[in-house]
């Protein structure tokens, strides 16, 4: 008891006349803050937590060399470099470049920096040989993960030249005819993440094989659609000719195939790309019939919703380029809804503004209006709102929904994956979420290579866009609204994002399943899920309520509930770095509970022993 409680009256909160009622007695008075903390505290970078390196791989072993991964080797080193840290000020030390990362180790006690070269978007020289002022000459590195790094070199003998060239080479290996690090990395894990997703098993889990839906391997060799997976689920009634004809009418052959089916009502979520309507308003009877088949596969409803993710203006504009949207005249019983989600270029610009706001320091006086002006949360809200509408139609109206945008690999993936998370508790587990990413994002051809720009130096490439990051942000928003509905914590989400860029694992490389097969990624690289699944404990949410009552989550898509994910976007700023105190406390309580459980077990064992002894001794 603390010293201030000398009046004997303060304890009334826990003790009450009616001792039989124990409602109020919820705060145990004993201390149990001694429990060891888990590594999820103070998440800065999930990349800095590395296992020891097998000695056989190590090439050089100087004491100040950084830890190396299996397959990692030192490429270059610069021993007299100043890291211009925006928070702790300049620090002198050694800059090491490996084929995987950049490591800065300061000679004093300042924190070190460890950045996988995969996150580097652009490298620039700052100042010239004649620049004046301290630390005016050096290298600036712009990263994909919301930070920039500046290093100052000595202004003599072209001291930065070697490091600059090595950085260019290994940060952008594809532009220099080199391989990505994932192909050199060869660490062994107890789990094989490449086996996490098995398309047919997943379709069976959903209960696809029934009277209405079948599995087809028509795209086994990726002939019908080169950006789609090999295995599809389509209505039983649909013939191969139907599928082929429809493919001709859909942008890049991305015809409607099944994403998810409701276990009871059989209402489905299907996905595709825009129809090739064009200015002339072309029609395709087979495509119309095919969509009718999707509708008919759900006996509960005589209607189908077509959710076009785009703003209507964009959809109309696409007609000029040969695309467009389904007219309700041509598609009987279909209702078309535009979800007003903007394109990849708008999102990229929004993230750029967000980075300006969050890095390196935030201007407190402009924080709220700054968030407003980035539009980032508005885009997040829009995507969530769209997914909620899809989930609502499927769950409450028992009506099937067909989702598309232009090509059906960006906004469509966001919408189907999010609505599946809302509808199906399986995708809220660690394993299920991995399956979801493998299925809706990877197998359906979200172009990770293009959107992230792995290993190439075209930093201003118009194909780059934070589409997947937005999806993860939306997932985080849902976890905030439903704190006990997810098996994973935000450390898991941050880990995924870190390795989205790192190029250490093969998971997010290439643009499609076809390319991944061609490049033998499963044999040549390690899956991110191997790494994650061998240490699942640290990614678990202590509040996860396994026997969850709630099958369907309907988040509130109002900006009043949507927050900026500071633990991700502002994590480089040490003053913004906080661990969630609630989760921390819950973990303490749980570990205390575990201690007590062990105590009780020992106590019971003792008792049993005593009983045994007592029964034995008389004889």
């Amino acid at each position: 008891m603390d010293s201030y409680r000398n009046d004997g009256k303060t304890s009334n909160f826990n003790t009450k006349e009616d001792s039989a009622n124990n409602w109020r007695k919820v705060s145990p008075s004993k201390s149990y803050c001694s429990s060891s903390s888990t590594s999820t505290e103070n998440v800065v970078s999930t990349l800095e937590r590395e296992t020891a390196v097998p000695s056989t791989v190590t090439v050089s072993t100087r004491p100040d060399d950084p830890h190396l991964l299996a397959g990692e080797k030192i490429i270059g080193q610069s021993r007299d470099v100043t890291y211009l840290c925006p928070y702790y000020g300049p620090a002198r030390g050694i800059l090491t470049i490996t084929n995987y990362k950049l490591n800065f180790c300061s000679i004093d006690k300042s924190p070190s920096v460890d950045v996988p070269l995969g996150v580097v978007s652009r490298i620039e020289k700052v100042g010239g040989a004649s620049s004046r002022g301290e630390n005016a000459y050096g290298i600036e590195i712009f990263c994909k993960d919301m930070r920039n790094l500046r290093f100052a070199h000595k202004q003599e003998n072209h001291s930065r030249r070697d490091i600059f060239e090595k950085l260019q080479q290994y940060a952008f290996p594809l532009s220099h005819k080199l391989k990505l690090f994932a192909f050199d990395y060869n660490e062994k894990f107890s789990e094989n993440g490449w086996n996490v997703y098995e398309p047919i098993a997943e379709l069976k889990r959903m209960g696809v094989i029934n009277d209405m839906w079948k599995i087809t391997k028509i795209n086994e060799h990726y002939d019908i659609c080169d950006s789609y997976p090999a295995v599809w689920a389509v209505p039983t009634q649909a013939t191969d000719d139907d599928l082929k004809a429809s493919a001709c009418f859909r942008s890049r052959g991305r015809i409607p195939v099944l994403s998810w089916i409701h276990p009871e009502s059989q209402a489905t979520i299907t996905r595709c790309s825009q129809p090739l309507v064009g200015v002339g308003g072309k029609r395709c009877r087979e495509d119309e019939r095919y969509i009718q088949l999707i509708m008919d596969a759900n006996a509960q409803s005589h209607k189908i919703f077509i959710m076009d993710a785009r703003p209507s203006a964009n959809a109309i504009a696409n007609k000029a380029k040969g695309g467009g949207y389904e007219s309700e005249d041509a598609y009987q019983n279909a209702e078309l809804v535009f979800l007003d989600i903007h394109n990849i270029h708008v999102m990229r610009e929004s993230l750029r503004k967000l980075k300006e706001l969050c890095y390196p320091n935030i201007d407190e006086s402009k924080w709220l209006s700054g968030i407003e002006s980035t539009y980032w949360l508005k885009h997040i809200k829009c995507i969530l709102a769209g997914a909620v509408r899809i989930a609502d139609k499927v769950e409450n109206l028992k009506t099937s929904v067909l989702v598309h945008c232009s090509d059906g690999w960006d906004r469509t993936a966001q919408l189907t994956a999010l609505s599946m998370i809302m509808l199906d508790p399986y995708y809220r587990t660690l394993k299920g979420f991995e399956v979801l990413i493998e299925k809706e994002w990877l197998s359906f051809g979200h172009k990770y290579q293009q959107r992230i720009g792995h290993g190439d130096d075209h930093h201003s490439d118009a194909d780059r866009s934070p589409v997947f990051l937005q999806f993860i942000d939306c997932v985080w928003q849902i976890t905030q609204q439903f704190p006990n509905a997810f098996q994973f914590n935000d450390y898991f989400l941050i880990t995924i994002l870190d390795h989205l860029y790192s190029c250490r694992f093969g998971t997010f490389l290439s643009n499609s399943e076809r390319e991944r097969v061609q490049e033998h990624l499963k044999d040549q690289t390690v899956s991110l899920w191997s790494y994650i699944n061998s240490r699942l404990d640290i990614y678990k949410n202590p509040l996860y309520w396994a026997n969850n009552h709630q099958n369907v989550l309907i988040p509130i898509a109002s900006i009043r509930h949507i927050k900026l994910w500071k633990a991700y976007y502002c994590r480089w700023n040490p003053s913004m770095r906080t661990q969630d105190p609630v989760y921390h406390r819950i973990r303490e309580l749980l570990s205390y509970k575990e201690q007590l459980e062990n105590g009780v077990m020992n106590y019971q064992k003792e008792q049993q022993c005593r009983v045994m002894r007592n029964t034995v001794s008389p004889t």
Binding site: D2, Y4, N21, P311, W367, S369, E372, H549, S575, L596
Partner: protein
């Protein structure tokens, strides 16, 4: 079962009501044949209940109450009653539907609000919204009234189907009774329920007596100060209590002389200190007519001498460094706009630029200023062992906010429910925060309404978010406390100062004092149980180091948004964390008792209850007033662009 010991049933009136309805058309048609609507009689449970001493002023049948944010399309029909205590809307909804989902108040029904909680009344026309001014009468026809309460709740009533002129009379009755000009017109003076006789000393220290101050002074182990009777019979200052703690070296006569120079005659008063000798002192500004600062310097010198190391105190000029009550009031109005949107259209417009509007309200900026000033003072007190003198205008507004926050930051005692309640008694009630004016219990032209107390509660809520293990009360407790400030039965927040309270208690009115801290008066044990925080760790006695920047602050959803049904997350939100924590703690208790060789089945029962709640409660629990109506409201889900581009959204089809 509900216990209604203090309720007299009113049975002479025949209550008729119509069941809940939904207008099919967006346009509102008055030709609805009344015979088509089912008339049903309210049962005893549903009827408005009355307290002893409460009298009916006005009663209107066939009143429609619109569901918030339904654009007048969803409503309930019932009986609107206005009494000397409350506004009450009785309808045929099954009370049982609410059980377990919302806090049950013994004094007020689900759709009741105390007249003292009413903030603004608007007359609603076809396209107009006119604020009704207290003291003036409404003469024209009143079809609809919108009533906005201090706790951000709003009621919208339609009188189209009631008897002629009933809208007008309701408006006039409200204007007359909601804004009394004299204190003795408040319901507390009419309430004739005999006092419970229960001692409040277990709930809070009231700081009305010398003994309370002595105990507090001893508890802090602060030295070199003395308890003076200089304000006996409020000779020195009307605003303060009779016992004051002042520097040991300051004589009563010197103090009497000095206070002449201070506004409100509020000289320096000790409120808290540390064993090392640093003290927290508050006082008012010098009178504007005083040009020399001799008297101020004299008292400051005495304060310096009271420090064991004779360290000069730090002076915090809060009038300059903190927002003025006027600023806080304007900020509150803007915040309230965000919490009480008029229509779905306005809701969406606000959503469209929410963070900008929130920024513009400055509410979080003010929270941030209060927290950072308090943290600064707390650091000086603890780390530098310096005495802090808080100085401000009359010494009764921002002084209360900062002074109490400093103590919460430093002293774990004030983070318990008992300590927190005592702190409010000490730094708000005893120190003369003008609750009667600031909460506008009575209308006064000079001192305006200003929810400084809400600003303080918001600051405490922010601390609770950052240090959930440090407090033994919950956010539900804080929200309930804000609801309770507008209930004119309790004397705690009714008076401007102790002097007024004493006059009312001993004068001809013989007011019976009822403390708000007697929570059992309002709530049953189950609801009170949710006031405590399952994450509390009573060994946590450290000083708090909160982040005070706006970026580290959040919006108090439960308090501000709970009346907007569309914002309630079904089976989600904080209550889920709270209940999970209760489950774990209950298991911990059981295990500990097992280790001690005790077996107890109550834990299992509690857990069953928690699990049941986990499966049903939504994010505003226990304030889920519209939980059962929550359906997916598509109007909220249209994208922001729908406002500037005309997209083809067909909202009415489902």
């Amino acid at each position: 079962m509900r216990s209604f010991t203090d309720i007299v049933f009113h049975c002479s009136l025949k209550h008729k009501t119509m069941i809940m309805g939904e207008a099919k058309d967006s346009g509102f048609k008055s030709y609805i044949d009344e015979s088509m609507l089912e008339n049903i009689v309210l049962n005893d449970e549903q009827r408005t209940k009355f307290l002893r001493g409460e009298t009916i002023v006005c009663e209107v049948e066939n009143v429609r109450m619109y569901r918030p944010l339904s654009d007048k399309k969803k409503f309930t029909t019932g009986v609107l009653t206005i009494t000397t205590f409350k506004l009450s809307f009785a309808c045929a909804e099954e009370e049982t539907d609410w059980k377990g989902l919302i806090q049950h108040n013994n004094l007020l029904g689900v759709n009741d609000i105390c007249l003292s909680s009413i903030d603004t009344i608007y007359q609603i026309g076809e396209k107009t919204r006119k604020k009704l001014v207290p003291g003036q009468n409404v003469s024209g026809k009143v079809k609809e009234l919108l009533i906005i309460c201090k706790n951000m709740r709003s009621f919208e009533f339609c009188f189209k189907f009631s008897t002629k002129d009933s809208g007008k009379s309701v408006a006039n009755v409200l204007l007359h009774h909601c804004y009394p000009k004299r204190h003795s017109l408040l319901f507390a003076y009419e309430y004739s329920e005999p006092p419970s006789g229960k001692s409040i000393s277990r709930e809070a220290r009231l700081f009305r007596t010398k003994e309370d101050w002595r105990l507090e002074y001893n508890r802090t182990k602060c030295k070199n100060w003395r308890i003076s009777d200089v304000n006996q019979n409020f000779r020195t200052s009307h605003m303060l209590v009779e016992s004051l703690i002042i520097p040991q070296s300051l004589t009563d006569s010197a103090l009497t002389q000095a206070v002449e120079h201070f506004r409100n005659r509020c000289g320096p008063v000790w409120v808290w200190g540390t064993p090392l000798g640093a003290a927290l002192v508050r006082m008012a500004d010098l009178l504007p007519t005083i040009t020399d600062r001799i008297q101020e310097n004299t008292v400051l010198e005495h304060i310096r001498r009271s420090h064991p190391d004779k360290k000069p105190p730090y002076l915090f000029d809060l009038s300059r460094e903190c927002p003025s009550p006027k600023d806080v009031y304007n900020s509150y109005l803007k915040l309230r706009d965000l919490c009480v949107p008029e229509s779905t259209r306005q809701f969406k417009q606000q959503d469209f630029k929410f963070y900008g509007l929130l920024d513009n309200s400055k509410w979080l900026t003010f929270v941030s200023i209060c927290l950072s000033k308090s943290l600064e003072a707390a650091e000086l007190l603890s780390t530098h062992n310096s005495t802090i003198v808080l100085q401000e205008g009359n010494g009764t507004d921002m002084n209360c906010v900062i002074s109490s926050l400093v103590q919460i930051i430093l002293d774990p005692h004030f983070r318990t429910k008992y300590g927190f309640q005592s702190l409010i008694q000490k730094d708000w009630v005893a120190m003369g925060h003008q609750f009667a004016y600031r909460l506008s219990h009575i209308l006064d032209k000079e001192v305006e309404f200003c929810p400084l107390f809400l600003l303080f509660l918001d600051c405490v809520w922010q601390l609770l978010q950052q240090f959930p293990m440090a407090f033994n009360f919950s956010e539900t407790y804080l929200t309930t406390l804000w609801d309770s400030v507008g209930i004119s039965i309790f004397d705690t927040f009714l008076f401007n100062c102790e002097h007024d309270r004493v006059l009312a208690e001993t004068g001809q009115d013989k007011l019976v004092l009822r403390s708000v801290w007697d929570w059992s008066r309002q709530f049953n044990e189950r609801d009170i149980a949710f006031f405590c925080n399952p994450l509390f760790q009573d060994t946590f006695t450290e000083k708090l180091k909160p982040k005070t920047e706006t970026s580290a602050l959040g919006i108090w959803n439960q308090c501000y948004f709970r009346w907007i049904p569309d914002l309630e997350i079904r089976c989600g939100g904080r209550p889920q964390i709270d209940l999970c924590a209760r489950l774990i703690v209950s298991e911990v208790w059981e295990l500990r008792e097992k280790l001690e060789g005790k077996e107890n089945c109550k834990h299992v029962q509690n857990r069953e209850e928690y699990v049941k709640l986990l499966n049903t409660v939504s994010s505003f629990y226990p304030f889920s007033h519209n939980a059962k109506e929550v359906t997916i409201n598509n109007t909220l889900l249209t994208s922001s662009d729908a406002l500037d581009t005309q997209s083809i959204l067909n909202m009415n089809n489902d």
